[in-house]
């Protein structure tokens, strides 16, 4: 296998060269890299927006921007982070790249649809950015709650259209993955031989498929309201604004699991590899992925405890919410048990994974505070909520994304990065993260509402600390990406299996050739059998 056979050198279809070999490619690996490129672009953009928000909040009164700008920034920060980064990040980049390889296929089932999803993503992001420049940036927050989203004069319509189109893109990706997993597994791979990352994508794909249309129709209805003023959510015309919140969270709560499940899949791949030990409870993790997908769809109204819905609903949804904690905890215990008595090899991806487990656990447990109706009434819509979901979304999915970047970077690009800088960056990110978000829990309990432009002087210390933490965090992220991008100067000499992995992607060269497999892959009875890896490393160490 020579270097020139990698998918970088062999465009598909073969007749196109240069930029066209990317823009109209059907190769899942190239599409994944195109996603990587644009998603990172938006991620950096939204990070800067977030930093500006926190800078504004560092001191009482006007710091760097006016109130309307502030409203626009937190709306766009939310919309971009949710719809353009967290939802697509792991499935669209790593899912596209690795799912077919992990199941021994040469591509996804619908390659053209895959490319279409990418273009829908681009179209949606163009709509999102256009709302910045035409008609005034939206100021509703990413939740688009009625009646404000219907009555505000800013250009919410463009943002709604953006979210609608991005939803379609996400839905089609899910559709593609389900079909691929059902129809294209290599001969001999039964369901319980599928790697856990692919399993988590499978569970995610079902949620994407069944929940996203609810968001589409909800956003469409708000658009109709803005154009035709039907009054479906307008109390003065007989409508019920709380129904909007129901419809919105029917999607957006399951969407939380669209965001976190792939991240959990990443961690389930990384932990066993660097523990040199089979994953603890493979079936339990598979079952908990599916259980999260199902149970996560039943609890949407716990976002609405203070909205004025019935007390019975508050009670029922609060009770159901606790059920979701169980499968999530199963996963956390499985990861920890995997490491127990393992032969642990510290690497940057593992460090990020450990950060994930810790931060996600904090986020998950504070979620229970919000899930119990009694305490939620106190902290609802305060900074406590902001801290909670950033612990889960950023500390969870974000860290899983960073871990995945470091884990599969040599596989995707064939180049290894510098470990020392990666460790420094990871430490800075974790420390900065805790400094940034921990004060928000306290601020929330003290009573600082979210989305407020200004606050009382007693909140200033906490906000100042959070701001400083934010700068450390951003510096860490900058160093991390600098380190990753610096690897492009290195020679392309990463081994097929630099870590000692057992799943199929480590059996193909780095970067993989166009058709992924040169010979039909050999399917092992169990995807996490490390006996061969241990033998190989023992032989190397004894020389």
């Amino acid at each position: 296998m020579t270097e020139s056979d990698s998918f970088f050198e062999t465009p598909s279809p073969t007749k196109y060269k240069g930029i066209w070999s990317w823009l109209i490619t059907m190769d899942h690996k190239r599409i994944a890299l195109m996603y990587l490129f644009v998603i990172l672009f938006w991620f950096f953009g939204a990070l800067i927006l977030g930093l500006l928000i926190r800078t504004e909040l560092m001191s009482v009164g006007r710091t760097i921007m006016g109130a309307q700008t502030y409203n626009a920034l937190f709306t766009l920060h939310g919309v971009i982070m949710i719809f353009l980064f967290i939802i697509p990040a792991i499935p669209a980049i790593f899912g596209n790249f690795l799912l077919p390889i992990q199941i021994g296929a040469d591509d996804v089932f619908f390659p053209k649809l895959n490319l279409l999803s990418w273009y829908l993503y681009i179209l949606g992001s163009l709509f999102a950015v256009s709302s910045l420049f035409f008609g005034g940036p939206p100021d509703t927050g990413w939740t688009f709650y009625v009646p404000f989203s219907v009555s505000t004069k800013t250009n919410v319509s463009a943002t709604l259209t953006a979210a609608f189109i991005l939803g379609m893109s996400s839905m089609l990706t899910g559709l593609n993955f389900i079909t691929t997993i059902h129809r294209m597994r290599a001969k001999g791979m039964r369901w319980l031989q599928i790697p856990l990352f692919t399993w988590s994508l499978y569970a995610t794909a079902w949620v994407q498929l069944l929940a996203t249309p609810i968001l589409s129709i909800t956003l469409l209805l708000v658009l109709f309201e803005r154009i035709f003023a039907i009054g479906l959510f307008d109390a003065s015309k007989g409508g019920d604004p709380i129904l909007y919140q129901h419809l919105f969270w029917m999607y957006s709560h399951p969407a939380v699991y669209i965001m976190i499940l792939p991240g959990m899949g990443v961690i389930s791949e990384i932990i066993p590899v660097f523990s040199r030990k089979s994953i603890f409870g493979y079936k339990a993790i598979v079952a908990s992925s599916m259980a999260i997908a199902i149970a996560g769809s039943l609890v949407w109204a716990h976002h609405m405890f203070t909205s004025g819905m019935s007390d019975v609903a508050v009670f029922v949804f609060s009770l159901l919410t606790f059920i979701v904690a169980i499968p999530s905890a199963v996963k956390v215990f499985s990861w920890i048990s995997t490491m127990y008595k393992g032969s642990i090899l510290m690497t940057p991806p593992l460090l990020f994974s450990l950060g994930f487990i810790y931060l996600f656990s904090v986020g998950g447990l504070t979620g229970l505070v919000l899930g119990s109706a009694g305490t939620d009434i106190h902290v609802h819509d305060t900074h406590f909520v902001v801290a909670h979901f950033h612990f889960v979304m950023f500390g969870g999915t974000g860290f899983a994304f960073f871990a995945a970047l470091h884990f599969w970077w040599p596989k995707i690009f064939g180049r290894m990065y510098d470990f020392k800088k990666a460790y420094v960056a990871a430490t800075m990110i974790i420390v900065g993260f805790i400094f940034h978000y921990l004060p928000m829990f306290i601020l929330g309990i003290m009573g600082l509402p979210r989305r407020y432009y200004d606050y009382m002087p007693k909140f200033e210390t906490g906000n100042m600390l959070a701001g400083i933490g934010g700068y450390i965090l951003i510096a860490g992220i900058a160093l991390m990406f600098f380190n990753l991008f610096a690897s492009f100067k290195n020679k392309r000499d990463a081994e097929a299996d630099p870590w000692g992995g057992t799943t199929l992607e480590w059996t193909v060269p780095s970067p993989p050739p166009l058709h992924n497999f040169i010979a039909p892959p050999e399917i092992k009875d169990y995807p996490y059998d490390f006996s061969d890896v241990i033998k190989k490393f023992k032989a190397e160490s004894t020389g």
Partner: protein, 96 residues
């Protein structure tokens, strides 16, 4: 070129016409039931007949009866999801 086409199932014209007639009869029934005042059961009767018609269309016109397990199960799961969403909303609206 990898071809994994299965042998397609052919449903006879006779069967299809039978289904169509059944559907038209059910339409007539649902219209006539709606003329009778059953109170709130009118809605349930209408939904029951509509579901029956839907079942006929799905099973025979859409060949679900002859489909593999994956599609059959996932279709039921989807309907279950719809039922959950509509049902759970009543935790709120019927106790407000």
């Amino acid at each position: 070129m990898k071809i994994t086409n299965e042998h397609p199932h052919v449903i006879s014209y006779k069967k299809l016409i039978g289904i169509l007639i059944a559907l038209l009869i059910l339409t007539a029934i649902t219209i006539s039931v709606s003329m009778v005042d059953l109170g709130k059961f009118n809605v349930w009767a209408a939904l029951l007949i509509a579901s029956t018609k839907c079942t006929l269309v799905v099973l025979f016109f859409m060949h679900l009866k002859y489909e593999n397990r994956v599609i059959r199960i996932s279709f039921v799961v989807t309907l279950f999801c719809v039922a959950i969403l509509i049902g759970f909303i009543f935790w709120d609206i019927s106790f407000r």
